[in-house]
C-alpha cells in the first residue's frame, strides 16, 4: 500500500513499542498509514475527525482520534482496541507521578464580540465580514490547533489549545464547521483499507500511497484510482481483516468484484452541526456547508451501522421490531450513536433507516457536549473550589501539636493530643480555646432595635448597654437556624454572634430582611476581622486579672478592655459550664494575646482545648450545637428551649408558624440520657425499652471524666416518650439536663 519512503523525516513516534518514522506535518494517523499500517480497528477512515475508526491511546490518553493529533518525536501510541477497551490508565493512586497530563493546565480567557468556529473559506469570509462591521472577531480553527469542544449556554465556548484550555465568551457565534463525509454501511465495512474521498486526498497530499485503489461514488480529485460506476454492495477481505476486493453492481444488476488494496468512498456529506445544536441559542448562526441541506444516504440494508458500538443494520431492525420505534429509543436500544463519535458517522444512516419505515425523516438526536473529547484534567483546568480559612492562631496550634481538621469551612484544632487533659484543664484549672471562627456582626442605626425584635424570638429592646442575651435564630417555619449572643454596645448599636458554620448564612439572612423591610440598619461583618479566644475555667478570672483585666464583666456582661496590651471586647458567657470570657480582638493581636495567656497561666497548668473536648464540656451542660443536634424541622419546643421564645412579642420571624405548629401533637423531643460504661458512638440508634424498635438517635455522646458515666443527647421520636431506652445494647435513662452544675453556679462564679 505504500513504499514507506519518507522525504524529510520529522522524527519517530512509537507505536505499540516500535518506532516509526513520520514526515513533518503528519498526523499520528497518517504517520501510521505511511508505515504501512492502519490506525484503529478497521472501518472507513475519514481522517477528518468525524468517525471513531482511528482511535488509539496517545501519550496515555485513551480514545484519541489519531487523525487529530500531530505526530511529534516521541509521541507514544498504543493501539486502541477497535471495539475492545483499554485498561484503566493507572491502578495505584499512590503513583501520582504517572499521570501523563497530570500537570495543572492553564486556562486562557477571551471575551469577544464574535467568535467564528472553523477556519475554512466560509468561516474566514464570515470573520472578515464581521471585522469589517467593526466587531472584535476571534477565529477558532481546529486545523490551527484550537479545537472547540463545546458551546455552553451564555455563548461560552470551551476549546483546547496546544498550551492548555481556552474559554471564550462571545456575543455572537458563527459556526463554520463544514460537513462530514458519509460512511458506507454495507457488509464488510469494518475491514481495514477503506477511506473516504477526502481521506484519500489527504493521504495523496501527504505522499502516502494507496496501492491499487478503486473509487465508489464521487471520486477523489488527483488520486490515481479505478472509478467503479455501480452501486456498492459489499467489501470483501481476508482473515486478517484487511480489504481485498469491492463488490458493486453491474449495469445489468449482476455483481462485479474488483480486487484492490484501498477502496475510496464518496457517498455524499452530512452537516457537522453538533456545536450549533448544543444550546439552541439565537445568537449562533451557521455558514458554509454546515448550513446546507444534505440528502440522507439510502436506507441501509446490511453491515455495521455504528462502528463505535458494533451495531449492525440487523440489530437496528431487531430493536425496531421489538417496539423501539423512534430515534431516541432506537439509539438507546441498539447502542447506535453511543460511542466515541457520538453518532457522527451513523446518524444519517439511522435517520434514513427510520425514514424508510415511517415515511418521515426524524430530527437528529440531541447534541450534547463534548463534540471533541476532553479529559477530566482538561475540563478541570484552573478550577478551584473550597477556600478553607485559617485563624490567626493556625501556626500556634500547629506548634502546640494540634491535630487540625476542617470544620465549618475553617481549619480548627480538633485536639492537642490529650482530650481528657484538655477537659480537666477547663473544669479544674484554666484553658483557652480558639473561637475566632464565630460569626460576628455589628449592627447599628435608628431602626436597629426594631429590626432585631423582628429577627429574634427573644426580647431585644430591654437588653441594657453592656449586657447580652443568648438568642436563637429562627426561620419562617419556626425552625432553629442558628444561635448566638446579642450584645448591646450602644443605644442603637449591637454586636451579634453566631456559630462558626452558621455565620455566613446569618449575615445573608439579616441583610436580606433589613433590605426587605427597608429599615435603616447598617450591618458590618466582623467575622474575619476579629479573632476570639475563649478563656475558661475556675482560674479564668484570675488569669485575666494578671493580664490587666481588673474589673471583669459579670455574667452576660461585656466591656472593652486591653488585655496583654491587646484591645479586647470581653464577653462573659459560658458554653463549657465554667466561668468563661470570650476575648474578641483584632486578628493582628491574636498571637500576642494567645501567648500571653499561656505564659501567664503556666502555674495554673493552662493548656488549650480543641473541639473534641469542647463538645464533651458542652454536652455535660446540655447545650445544643445547631447543625449537629438539630434537624431540618427542629423547633425551640422540641429542643426544650421554649424559654428562648417570647410568644407574647407582637411579631418575629417564625412566630406564625410556631403558633400553628404548637397545636400539633408533641412527637419529637431532644433530651439527655445517662448510662453506665463507655459512651456509645454518636449517631447510635435509640431503641425502645424492649429493644426491637428504633425510636430515635444519639446526637451527642461523651464519657464524662467527672461523672464517670456516659452522658448523651439525642432524639426521641415515638410517643409516649419513654424514660428508659436501649442504646448500644445497654439501658439508658432519660435524664434532665444540664447533667453538670444544674444551677449554673460555676459559670457565674
Amino acid at each position: 500500500m505504500t513504499d514507506g519512503s519518507i522525504s524529510g523525516s520529522g522524527g519517530r513516534i512509537v507505536v505499540d513499542g516500535r518506532p516509526i518514522e513520520f514526515a513533518a506535518g503528519d498526523s499520528v494517523a497518517i504517520a501510521i498509514m505511511r508505515s504501512g499500517k492502519v490506525p484503529g480497528g478497521g472501518g472507513t477512515l475519514c481522517l477528518a475527525g468525524d468517525c471513531g475508526n482511528c482511535l488509539a491511546t496517545v501519550d496515555g490518553v485513551a480514545h484519541v482520534r489519531t487523525c487529530e493529533v500531530e505526530a511529534r518525536p516521541g509521541t507514544a501510541v498504543a493501539g486502541d482496541p477497535g471495539h475492545g477497551k483499554p485498561p484503566l490508565p493507572i491502578v495505584d493512586g499512590r503513583d501520582l507521578t504517572r499521570t501523563p497530563i497530570g500537570r495543572e493546565l492553564g486556562v486562557r480567557r477571551i471575551d469577544v464580540d464574535i467568535a467564528v468556529i472553523g477556519g475554512g473559506p466560509s468561516g474566514l469570509a464570515a470573520a472578515a465580514a464581521a471585522a469589517a462591521g467593526g466587531g472584535n472577531v476571534l477565529v477558532l480553527d481546529a486545523d490551527s490547533g484550537t479545537e472547540v469542544v463545546a458551546i455552553y449556554p451564555g455563548r461560552s465556548i470551551v476549546a483546547r489549545e496546544p498550551a492548555g484550555m481556552l474559554h471564550v465568551r462571545a456575543d455572537e457565534i458563527v459556526v463554520a464547521t463544514g460537513s462530514a463525509e458519509i460512511q458506507p454501511v454495507c457488509p464488510g465495512n469494518d475491514l481495514a483499507g477503506i477511506v473516504t474521498s477526502g481521506a484519500a486526498e489527504r493521504l495523496q497530499a501527504a505522499g502516502v500511497g494507496l496501492g491499487v485503489a478503486v473509487a465508489i461514488g464521487s471520486p477523489p480529485s488527483g488520486v490515481a484510482c479505478t472509478v467503479l460506476d455501480g452501486r456498492l454492495i459489499r467489501f470483501e477481505g481476508d482473515a486478517t481483516g484487511r480489504l481485498r476486493s469491492v463488490v458493486t453492481t453491474n449495469t445489468d444488476g449482476s455483481e462485479m468484484t474488483t480486487a484492490c488494496d484501498t477502496a475510496i468512498v464518496g457517498l455524499g456529506r452530512a452537516p457537522r452541526d453538533v456545536l450549533a445544536r448544543m444550546t439552541g441559542d439565537d445568537a449562533i448562526s451557521l455558514v458554509g456547508s454546515v448550513a446546507d441541506e444534505h440528502p440522507l444516504p439510502a436506507a441501509p440494508t446490511a453491515g455495521e451501522i455504528c462502528r463505535c458500538m458494533g451495531t449492525t443494520v440487523d440489530d437496528l431492525a431487531s430493536a425496531w421490531d421489538a417496539g423501539y420505534t423512534e430515534l431516541e429509543l432506537l439509539k438507546r436500544a441498539s447502542w447506535a450513536g453511543l460511542g466515541p463519535c457520538q453518532g457522527g458517522a451513523c446518524l444519517p444512516h439511522v435517520r434514513a433507516f427510520i425514514a424508510a419505515r415511517t415515511g418521515t425523516v426524524p430530527e437528529p438526536f440531541t447534541a450534547r457536549p463534548a463534540s471533541r473529547q476532553i479529559t477530566l484534567a482538561e475540563a478541570a483546568a484552573d478550577t478551584t473550589i473550597d477556600a478553607f480559612r485559617r485563624t490567626p492562631l493556625h501556626d500556634e496550634h500547629l506548634a502546640l501539636g494540634a491535630r487540625m481538621d476542617r470544620f465549618g469551612g475553617w481549619w480548627r484544632p480538633w485536639h492537642y493530643g490529650d482530650v481528657v487533659g484538655e477537659y480537666w484543664a477547663v473544669r479544674e484549672g484554666v484553658s483557652i480555646g480558639d473561637v475566632s471562627t464565630l460569626g460576628k456582626l455589628v449592627v447599628s442605626g435608628p431602626d436597629v432595635v426594631e429590626a432585631l425584635e423582628r429577627i429574634y424570638p427573644c426580647h431585644v429592646a430591654d437588653i441594657k448597654v453592656g449586657r447580652s442575651r443568648y438568642a436563637l435564630l429562627l426561620n419562617e417555619r419556626g425552625h432553629v437556624m442558628d444561635d448566638g449572643m446579642i450584645l448591646r454596645t450602644g443605644e442603637s448599636r449591637f454586636v451579634l454572634s453566631f456559630t462558626s458554620g452558621g455565620a455566613a448564612n446569618a449575615e445573608m439572612w439579616i441583610r436580606d430582611w433589613v433590605d426587605t423591610w427597608g429599615l435603616r440598619v447598617h450591618v458590618m461583618d466582623r467575622t474575619m476581622s476579629l479573632a476570639a479566644i475563649n478563656v475558661t475555667g475556675p482560674h479564668a478570672k484570675e488569669l485575666l486579672a494578671r493580664l490587666g483585666l481588673a474589673e471583669p464583666p459579670r455574667f452576660l456582661g461585656h466591656l472593652e478592655a486591653d488585655i496583654a496590651g491587646v484591645p479586647c471586647h470581653v464577653m462573659r458567657l459560658s458554653f463549657t459550664g465554667e466561668a468563661a470570657f470570650e476575648l474578641h480582638h483584632p486578628v493582628d493581636g491574636s498571637v500576642t494575646l494567645w501567648r500571653a495567656l499561656l505564659d501567664a497561666g503556666r502555674d495554673f497548668g493552662i493548656r488549650p482545648h480543641g473541639l473534641q473536648a469542647l463538645f464533651g464540656l458542652r454536652l455535660e451542660k446540655g447545650h445544643v450545637i445547631v447543625g449537629m443536634d438539630t434537624e431540618l424541622d427542629t423547633t425551640p419546643h422540641r429542643l426544650g428551649m421554649d424559654w428562648a421564645v417570647r410568644m407574647e412579642k407582637p411579631a418575629f420571624i417564625g412566630k406564625a408558624a410556631l403558633e400553628r405548629t404548637s397545636r400539633l401533637p408533641d412527637t419529637r423531643r431532644w433530651v439527655g440520657f445517662a448510662m453506665d460504661g463507655e459512651a456509645p458512638p454518636e449517631g447510635s440508634p435509640i431503641l425502645g425499652r424492649d429493644g426491637d424498635e428504633i425510636i430515635g438517635n444519639v446526637t451527642g455522646s461523651w464519657t464524662s471524666p467527672l461523672l464517670g458515666r456516659a452522658l448523651l443527647l439525642g432524639w426521641l421520636k415515638r410517643t409516649p416518650f419513654p424514660d428508659r431506652v436501649v442504646i448500644n445494647g445497654r439501658e439508658a435513662v432519660v435524664t434532665a439536663t444540664p447533667f453538670y452544675d444544674r444551677e449554673g453556679l460555676r459559670a457565674r462564679a
Binding site: G106, V107, R108, R109, D111, H167, D382, T383, T384, I385, D386, A387, F388, R389, R390, T391, P392, H394, W410, V442, S444, G445, P446, V448, S492, R493, R520, H522, V523, M524, R526, M528, S529, L530, P567, P586, V587, D588, G589
Partner: protein, 128 residues
Amino acid sequence: MPALEPLVGRRVIGDPDALDAAIWSGRDVVVLRLAPDEAFGIGATAVELDDEHAIDESEAGFVGAVLSTADLADVIARVDWSLPSDPSALAQGKVAGVPAKLLIGDPSLLVTHAAYAGELADRLGWSS
C-alpha cells in the same frame, strides 16, 4: 515573589452619600469602596463622616500584596472575570477561587481577608 502583608486601617459602614464625602486621616490612605455603604481606608487612622449611626472600626482583618506588572499578569490569569473598564476602580471577586479584591494602579494591589491569605498564596504559587 509577592507576599500578602497585613493591612491596617479603618473600615466604615455608613450612608453612601456620607461615605462619598468622608474625610480620611492618616498617611497615604487608600480607600477601597467595598460596597455603596462600605469602605476600607487602608492606612487610615480616623474618618469623619456625616452619619451618626456609622459603624467605624479599626480594621486589621485584611492582607494585601503589591504587584509588579508581571505579578499582575499572573494574578489576572487566575481570574474568571473581566477587569473593570475604569482602571482605577476596585475589582472584587474570586482570584484563583478565593474571594479577593484587586486595585489596578501603579502599583497594583491584591487584597484578601487574612483568613484566606494562606490559601490564596498557595494557589498563586507564592508559598515558599
